[in-house]
């Protein structure tokens, strides 16, 4: 019984307290050791950089978010369609699936310069990168989900003399949703990386573009603001998928604790 003297907030401190504590230590260290600002800016300078031009950050966050979401949405739509084809057709399994595995085993980042040549320096090449880097996770998890049916369920469905479409619509699809959401949660983060890579290669908009522009001017506080916004954006996108998941599959094992 030596523990009761430690207060609750210290044994399990809230997230905001931990983050604030880290910022305070960071700020104190910068005051104490005075590193050059282009090497390690202090939190207050970073905050100032954000407040100086909020509209720039807002509009460029919007571009990055939009390209990421469009690429992600395309990867879900096309990836799921491909997964259906792979599950229902041996021919497509032998062709598309093999091709996808081959494409996935090469570093897709290396394709970004090529996409700029093909699609220009506009949004299309970023959307294409966000799409390409995410689709594999969608296809793999969707195929897994669509295939994960117990033999008895197939027997049951056949004994009820329903059409193949009924089996797909009423059993196979809902049964695949948990797995599809797992794929989407991985894919959304990958899409953001894909879009950033596209912006690094060549862009006039987006947080990736801001990072490159600020780095060229040795304006490190602005680089930090962009990184901060990227991590906020990534978190929001992930939470968004979780939000939809909770509402779509409240019946799944992973969601029950939250629902009740």
């Amino acid at each position: 019984m030596t523990r009761p003297s430690v207060p609750e907030w210290l044994r399990q401190p809230p997230v905001w307290l931990v983050l604030t504590g880290l910022l305070v230590i960071w700020q104190a260290a910068c005051w104490l050791f005075e590193p050059p600002i282009f090497l390690l800016p202090d939190p207050i300078s970073i905050g100032k950089a954000l407040i100086d031009s909020p509209y720039t950050y807002l509009i460029n966050s919007y571009y990055t978010a939009a390209n990421t979401l469009i690429g992600f949405a395309l990867s879900v739509l096309i990836g799921f369609a491909l997964a259906l084809g792979i599950v229902y057709s041996r021919f497509l399994e032998a062709t598309i699936y093999t091709t996808l595995v081959a494409i996935n085993s090469m570093p897709k980042v290396a394709l970004a310069p090529l996409f700029v040549v093909w699609m220009g320096t506009g949004h299309t090449s970023k959307i294409a990168m966000a799409f390409l880097i995410a689709i594999f996770a969608i296809v793999i998890d969707a195929v897994l989900g669509l295939r994960s049916l117990e033999a008895e369920i197939i027997d049951l469905s056949r004994s009820m003399r329903g059409s193949a479409f009924k089996l797909l619509w009423k059993i196979r699809l809902p049964n695949a949703l948990p797995s599809l959401f797992a794929g989407m949660k991985v894919a959304i983060g990958l899409s953001l990386v894909g879009d950033l890579v596209g912006e690094f290669v060549s862009a006039q908009h987006g947080l990736g573009y801001l990072i490159l522009a600020a780095q060229g001017a040795f304006d490190t506080p602005r680089v930090f603001v962009s990184i901060l916004l990227l991590s906020i954006l990534g978190t929001l996108l992930f939470r968004m998928i979780e939000f939809v998941e909770r509402r779509t599959i409240p019946w799944h094992v992973s969601q029950r604790a939250a629902a009740h």
């Binding site: 117990e150 008895e152 369920i153 027997d155 049951l156 469905s157 056949r158 004994s159 009820m160 003399r161 329903g162 009924k166 009423k170 059993i171 809902p174 049964n175 599959i249 019946w251 799944h252 094992v253 029950r256």
Partner: protein, 273 residues
Amino acid sequence: MAMASSRSEIASDRSPHIRIQNVTKTYASSSGDVLALTDVSLDIKNGEFISLLGPSGCGKSTLLKLVAGLDVATAGTLSLAGETITGPPAGLGMVFQKDVLLDWRTVLQNVMLPVEFQDLDQAEYRERARHLLKLFGLADFLDKHPWELSGGMRQRVAIGRALVTNPSLLLMDEPFGALDALTRDELNLELQDIWLRSGKTIIFVTHSIAEAILLSDRVCVMAARPGRIIEVLDIDFPRPRTLAVREDPQFSAYTRRVRQIFESQGVFQHDKA
């Protein structure tokens, strides 16, 4: 037992409902063909409760699948009401050892699944589904999800699902095999009730000797390697039967007979060579 005699008369008056003639089934495996069933013949009367009883590997589930039209015999023929079985026939209900309820559907929606699959009138059958679930003591659980139910309740829902379209043939593949002994007794009696009231033909796969004798008009005792029917026992107890029938000397006699058959087939041998 007036009820008993009238029942058995109904059953014996009819011509065979299901006719299984010289059926053989082999499966291809990596170590060559496996003979799952060899030369099985059996006539099942309309409205009969018949059990397929045997150790694992005796082909009882395989035989059930052949009757269900879910698999095709390698040789021999199966027919239902005079028509060769080529696929799942109309008026078929199935119950498996796993309840295979769909987690995203409520209890009522799970029972309604066959109605949706067969595009039947939803409003009409929803009443029947509610009635069945009430019969099973699940009236308060219509809108619950399967994971909120006990094993026995889940299997009741699965039986409700098999019965909702009022099929004339009910095939049950070790339906109570995963339940505890008390729940199993309870469901055995409930199944007998349903059968007595509805006059369905029931083929019941089990590896429990007591369960088979308690429920069945006839018990097909099967053996493995190769899967075949050794003997068909007539179980002559009046209906409705209660659990007390298990203490009847005749019940022991049936049990002994089945055990002797199994022993002669080496089922209970302890030394695993």
